[in-house]
Structure formats: structure tokens, C-alpha cells
Symmetry: D2
Subunit: 288 residues, 4 copies
């Protein structure tokens, strides 16, 4: 059976008895075979309830549209759910924003090229022209949108929105070293993933490896998170750390950190693409 | 709400559509509020299906016995399930077997004493008398059952069975350095947990730290597994590793390894006590 | 050869050519066989130089006192070194301060009891009386020095200094939840080790597991550091982290964190006892 | 100061007092400033002694050739040393052998391209033609040397030796799935690095991810080692592991394992290039 014959249903609602039974009974009655089911409740009495189901679609007795309408009637409205269904056959379109450091962006392009990252990539946008060659080698359009001063931000972001058009469902900031304005961020709520090169909340802001070096930490880290209007404060998706010692200079931290950033970002993007993440306020539920 | 107001239902059966719906609907109809639900299918078409549910019991509309009878009728027989329900209020009784190394056994007693490991401990049995004082300090009976030659095994195991009586639901071999005979093992199917001081399947048998040292590995490990009649071949529950270097002598490996063994064994025992493990042939499903 | 036949020489001075040759030639000429040699330079041109040597003492041709005098003449003064020699046969005396959480303190006592931590422990001091029984079981004196209000600090610290007398070379704060005053700290410069239950510099101050939970991090950590007058800002000795998920409640973070704290603190104390740590401003050099 | 102004001296000899003093005094007297010094002794009494020094060369008072001759006279012969000096300015030439899986080879080429791996790469050789395009994109010659049956090995290896000529100082098997014959291996003693996709010594031979899946392990691993005539038995350089669960299918193990293989191989190659590895029988000393 092809990978494309799967769909995923994500649900969020107030916790109350009977939700799992209602949802699974509905899917069963319409010919969906559930292959994964994860749930989380913040508190069985009065908390929020989150659920992710993965199910096979070949024997569904309804079209996509009819299924969604039936689900809204059978469960969605009754439990006042926030829900959506995505289909593995529909590849999400992911645009990449990058500055001068290539490792995080290339890690994504490389995984995409070898069929490991199931997205379409409409374009890569950079405030430098430096990575044009490296990106175009993958057959992906590269756009240079300069932004050398804070005053240019408004214009640059307008140009980026124009280039992105309706062509990107989510964005990845793969070491994009410009701060996005709140209006831009509001266009992609919980749909911009950033890789920050520290274990947040430590070392927010600029040059975290230098901050880490100067504090004398014995571990460095990387954090993938959704971007909100508050710099480096958005919901954390994935984090990892590596041990360092007194003999590691700042450049060693950067070198070791690059490997962490590549791993952590690639993992977060895969989870996002597979609809494994639900944002709950300033936290994430990750059904991995 | 008290921790004791929970129960867990573990299920194994042939995979087929409708199981989740049937089980969750049943629990819903009888007043159980599901707080955790994990499932695993080896193959949606013709594979095995495993499920663990944790649910609150205060609003159940049936007694334990009536609930189990009703479940058998509503779902158990229909899907030809292998299932059981355990109640958090019923602390399982865990006996510990140990030889001369104290770290793994003391780690368990220490966690038990501070209320972290929710079991009763009827006794500790050892083929040495060395740890009597350390064990009795915890107020736990200690039995010395010598077994200096292979010829004494039959007699020693008979004595241990006598001491254990019906008083232990599962056993932990916390660095017990005698091989248990097949008849003894058969009395506790998937209910004897051993800690082996290597990352299995590497370094089975005696003195794995020496084997590791002589092979020149750069990692050492520990493995918790259920005991079967085949030495060090039983279903693996949990494993972990630590980095070592050329400057680590055998005694350093042993020292570092002790910390691994304590962590890995404590985790495996907790999972067993919380009914998070299902054995599937020579593998384990761990719903952690 | 007994473990006690070793000594360690720690050196700090301005980096300049010839130091290693001078030191190793000196030791060679006096019959010391070097078994470990570690060095670190912050910058070969104009930086600081740090060195740790471990050497066998049985064939030394000088008494301790004469050796130190000869070293001062041959190398110490010439290179304007800050240096000292310690002998493995001299067990340092370590006092433990603890509040109500027992895990970190008991980990140290347990390692001490089984001969893994080569110190003498003159006493354990606590602002609670709760752990008296657990400590006295090890045959170690326990002193209760209450400190319920900030106003009692001066008096409590005076009492602690009295109890410690000249009997402790270094202190370990094994989850001691009172802030030590600058005058007290100044009595033990770089000789008070604290375990903080987060990956510093994140989550300084009170209840870091709650802070971590509320921020929604995907890792938790523990940090062992020397205490300075600035809370949680002293030189970091050792850090480690563990992965957590959305399903971990605060109490799960605390439970997982306890294991981290025990490991990280035990490692830092071992390094301190083996004279493996040199403090350089707000950083540590760890020759592990 | 440029990175190229460094040299490294590696030494192996019988342990005896005075070696460190003799070597460091020699370098000091000839104007070399030592920036790193690592040593290891298998046993201070009658064991083997290993040392690695990194030193700055700009103020050397002798040419390379004269320095080496002087060292031989001053220390090498006296202590019967096996030693050599390498210069950071001399980039070693590294040939890559690969089969159909591209990830390990591309990781190396990618690090080489961005200036992180300081080697020259004369060519990539493969028993498939599949990766020609990917390799040639980096401007590196690609040679297809088919070897479809065991009977073709002799001829294929002869062809490879012809292609390698004197142009490669060491080889990397980046998932090269053919077994090299003993005569070929003997041409590159301790100069062929292989990445094996398991934590050796577990799962030697073919398809280790399948073996791991079937054994039901909870960790997978990768091992970089030098190739000897015995398959998967050579001295281990670096190893790492990652946690897996019952829900990971073989393809998940392969996907997670690729990331491990890339990291472990890249680290081992960097250590080799920086002359940080000394082989001691079937073990390695790694001065990282």
C-alpha cells in the first residue's frame, strides 16, 4: 500500500468523556482503518484534550469533502472541536529563508532531494546572494531580497510576501538572521519554524555561541520553535544538546553546534510536515 | 484525585477494524474516563494489535468483577483478545535476587523507600550473605541461599521457590550472578527482569566489562530484559550507553557502568510496575 | 601499587615557552613517574597556561616539604606560578549541606559508604531535621541548624561555621535551599559546590522545574557549579540534560531531574576530590 | 596566526621515566611552542607510552628535515620510539569508496566543500554508477569500478589500486558494500576507515538494521573503525547510539541510523586528518 493512502486527523477541544469513542466509532463506520492514535489531556477534569489519528483511506466510503462534513456533524460540533484532516498525498509547500550560513538550509534541501522530506519547495529567499549557486544546484528558485538596515524591513517583507504569494504553506528560517515584523509573522501563525542556536530560554538574541563561551557552559544546544512576535519566545518544538569542554573555542562550539542545528531542525520540520505538532498556547504537543 | 483511583487495561489481539471504537465505547458507557491511550499495530493488514489504556475508576458503574465480565462479553470474546486489567491501588509484590554487587539492588530499595517505586518487597534473596546488613536496614527480610557449585542449583532454586511462595508477582535480578534453570524461569514467564551490564546482543555471558575493554569499544551499555531459558536472549525492555575512552581502565568501565545499570534497571522496573510493557515474541512493546 | 602512592600537581601561570619542559624535567630528576599530564592554554601568545600532572611518589628522592621547596625554586618562582601539590593519601574533608530533598545528599553518602568517593565526611548540616535518621544510619554526625526567616541567616551561618570549624576543606550544597551570605561564601572560595536543578544559565532562582514546565522546554537539565556571591552565577563544573515531552507533568520533571542531579553532582564532586578542576575567572578547566 | 603554522608529533614507545621531559625540552630548545600535549600509558611499569604534541612552527630554528634528524638523535633513538611529525599545511589526500547509499559520502564531500574537512579528494570510486552526478557536482572525479560477483574482486581491486595510484594517503569506505581482500587492505595499514551501521561488536556482517530490528533492541548505533583483514573486527575509532522504540520499523531504523552514521564517520575522519589517532593492537588511542 502506498504511503499516500494515509490521512491524519488532528483534534483539540475541552476534555470530556466519550471523545475517543465518538471519533474512533465514526472513522470505523466510514471504512477508515486507524493505524496510529495518540492523545493528550492537560487535565481530565476541565482541561484541554488533544488527539492525532493516522488512518488508511483506500476503503473510505465518502469523498474527502463528504467525510469532513460528516465528521463535523457527528463529532466536531458536538464536542466543539478545533480539528482538521490532512492527506499524505498532498505535499505541503515549504519556503526556506536563509542568510549567509548554509548548513541548516542545505540539510533540508539534501533531505528533500533524496526523498526523505516530503514537501514541495517553491523557493529559497535570502538577504544575501551568497548561497544562490548552492540552492540552484538543487533546481530550486533562489531570490535575493536585501535587507541591510532595519529601515528596509518593511519593503523587504513586502517583497518576500509577493514572492511567496499563495505558494508556501509554511516557512523555515534556516539561520535567517533578520527579525521578522509582527505583521509578517501574523500571516503564518504557527507556520514559521526557526532554528535557534542555543538551548532556549538560555542565550536569546544575537551570537548565542559567544554568549555560551563567555558563560563557560559545559553543554551547547539547539532549539527549533515556532516564531511569534516575541523574539525567541515562541512554542518550542525540539531541542538537543552536546557536551563541550574548556578546550573548545568559540569556533569549536560553532562547528559542533552546526551538527546539532541540522539534526534538530530536520526533526522539527519532519514532525510539522507529518502533522505531528499541535500548538497549545506557548507550548507544543508533539505526537512523535 | 488519588493516584490509586486509576486502572490500566492491556490488550493484545489480531488487528482488525473497530477495536479502538469498541473498547473506548465500552469504557465510556461504564463511566471510565480514559486518561492515556496507546496502541501499536505490527501491520494493519493481518498483524497483531496492542493497546494500553489508563482510566479513572471513581465513576465506574460496575464492580471490578462485573466490569471484567462485561468487558469479556462486549469486546474480549468478539475480538479474541488476550487482555487484563490492573488497578493502581494493588501494589505488585517484587522480590529481588542479588549476589555480591549492591548498587542495582540498593537503587531499587532506595526508590522504594522514598515512595517512588510503588511495590511491596516481600524479601531479598542472595547467594551471598554480604548484603544482609544493607538490606535489613530497609526493614526488608533477607535470605541467604548459598549456591557455590552448579550441582547445588536444583536445591537452591527449590529453597528460593519455598521462600517466595505465593508472595512475589515478579522478580528482579539486580546483578544476580547465577543462571536460573528453565523450570524456575517457567514459573515466572515474562515476570523476571534482569539487568545485564552490556548493550546486548554484544557481550553476552560473563564479565562483559572485561569483554568490552578487550574489544576496545568507545561506548559501554546496560540492558534490562525479561529472562527466558536462553541466557541473555530474552525480550529487551530498556537500554542505554555511555561514552568511554582509551584512558578508561576496566575499573572505570565498571564504575561508569554501575550508574548506567542503576538507571536502566530502575526505569524498566517502573514500566513493569505501571503495566507499560507487553511482550510480543522476543520483543517488547513499551508504552512509556 | 596502592592508589595512595600518587600525587597531583596543579599549575596556573602566564603562558610562555618552556614550562612543560621545566616541570617534567624537575619531576623526572626527583624520581616522580608522570602517569597523567593535561594542559590547557587560553592563548599561546599572552594567554594563561594551566597544567595538571599526576605522578607516582614511591621513588621520590625528597620529602613532601623538601619537594615543594625545590619546586618553588626550580619552576614556581621562575614562571611566577600559582601551584599546589595534593596527595591521594590525604582524604579531603567534605561537609554536606542539605534541606528537605534527600536524593542528592544520599547519592554522595552512598558512594562514600561503598568506597567510591574518597573523602572524609565530618558532618551533614540541614535547615530541617527531616533527614537526621537517614544520615545517622551512615554513622555521620547530623546537625540541625534552623533558618526559617531571612533574618535568621546571620545567626545560622555563624552556627554552621562553628560546627564546621577547621573540619571541612570543601562544602557540597546537595539541594540546600537557603542562600548563603557573601561573608560565608568568602570563607570557602571555589570550595563550595552547588547542584542547581536546571541547565544554567536558564532558570536561575527558585523552582526551576516549574519554570521549565511553564516555558514548555523539551529538555531539562542539572548544573554543578562553584558558589560565588552571585546566585547561580558561579563557574560551571558539569552539566547534563534529559529529554522530556508534553506528557511530562511537573512531578515527572522532578523525578527525571533527580536522576540527573545525582549523576551531575557525583561527577563534579569526584573531579573536585581528584583535583581535576582549576577555576579561571568565571569558568572552569576540567582535566577529566 | 594561520592554521597552517602548526605541526603534530606522535610518539609510541615503551614507557619509562623522562620521556615527556626529553621531548618537551627538545621542542623548547628548537623554538617550537607546544599548544597541545596529550599522553597515555597502558601501565607505568612496563607498559606502552603514547604521546601527541601540537606545536607552532614559525619560530623553529631548523628546517623540517633537520628537525626530524635532530629529534631522532635527541630522543627517538634513545627511547626506541616509533614517531612521526605531520604538518597542518600538508593536506592529506583522501579517496572515498561508496556503493549505492549516498548519505555518508555526501556528508564528507559537503564538509570538504565548506572548508571544514581539510583534505584533498583525488577521487570517489564506486561499484555502482548511481552517484556519478552527485559526486561530479562537487568537481571531484568519479570512477565506476563494477564488482557484481565475488569472482570479479581481484580484477576490481587491481583497477582501484591503479586509479588510486600514489594519490591517496588514506581511504574512507562510506557505505562501500564490498569486502576488500587482504592484499588490498595490506596496502593501507590503519589507513582505511569504515563506517559500520551498528554498535559493534553487535550485528557484524550484512544488513545490521534488519538484525537489530529482529533482535528487538532499544538502541541502534554506528561504528567507525579501521579496516583489517577480519571483517568488522578492526580497531574502533568512534561509536554512537540513538534510542528507538517498538514503533520504529526497519526503515525508521535506517533513517535514524543514517544521521548517526554521518556524524560518527565525519568525526572519525576529522580525528584521522588531525593525526589524533594512534593504533595500539586492536584498540585506538584517540587524543581528541
Amino acid at each position: 500500500m502506498a504511503t499516500d493512502s494515509y490521512a491524519r486527523l488532528l483534534i483539540r477541544c475541552a476534555d470530556q468523556p466519550g471523545i475517543v469513542a465518538a471519533v474512533t466509532t465514526f472513522l470505523f463506520q466510514h471504512g477508515a482503518n486507524i493505524t496510529e492514535l495518540d492523545q493528550h489531556s492537560t487535565d481530565p477534569s476541565g482541561g484541554l484534550f488533544f488527539m492525532r489519528l493516522e488512518f488508511q483511506t483506500p476503503k473510505l466510503d465518502l469523498s474527502r469533502q463528504a467525510l469532513e462534513q460528516a465528521f463535523a456533524e457527528a463529532a466536531g460540533r458536538r464536542y466543539n472541536m478545533d480539528w482538521h484532516i490532512s492527506y499524505a498525498a498532498d505535499r505541503p509547500r515549504m519556503a526556506v529563508l536563509v542568510s549567509a550560513h548554509d548548513h541548516a538550509a542545505l540539510e533540508l534541501l539534501w533531505r528533500w532531494q533524496r526523498g526523505e522530506l516530503l514537501v514541495d519547495i517553491p523557493c529559497v529567499i535570502s538577504n544575501h546572494d551568497k548561497l544562490r549557486g548552492a540552492v540552484e544546484q538543487f533546481g530550486i528558485p533562489f531570490h535575493h531580497v536585501p535587507q541591510d538596515t532595519a529601515g528596509q524591513r518593511e519593503q523587504a517583507e513586502a517583497r518576500m510576501l509577493e514572492l511567496l504569494g499563495g505558494n508556501a504553506e509554511f516557512l523555515v528560517l534556516a539561520r535567517y538572521m533578520r527579525i521578522l515584523g509582527p505583521a509578517f509573522v501574523a500571516r503564518y501563525p504557527n507556520r514559521i519554524i526557526n532554528i535557534h542556536h542555543s538551548f532556549l530560554p538560555a542565550f536569546v538574541g544575537a551570537d548565542p555561541y559567544r554568549q555560551a563561551y563567555e558563560r563557560g557552559v559545559k553543554i551547547i544546544g539547539a532549539t527549533a520553535h515556532y516564531v511569534t512576535a516575541d523574539l525567541d519566545q515562541g512554542p518550542i518544538i525540539s531541542q538537543d544538546t552536546a557536551h563541550v569542554s574548556h578546550s573548545d573555542e568559540i569556533d569549536d562550539l560553532r562547528r559542533l553546534g552546526r551538527d546539532l542545528e541540522r539534526q534538530v531542525l530536520a526533526r522539527a520540520v519532519r514532525w510539522h510536515v507529518e502533522d505531528r505538532i499541535i500548538v497549545d498556547g506557548n507550548k507544543t504537543i508533539v505526537f512523535d
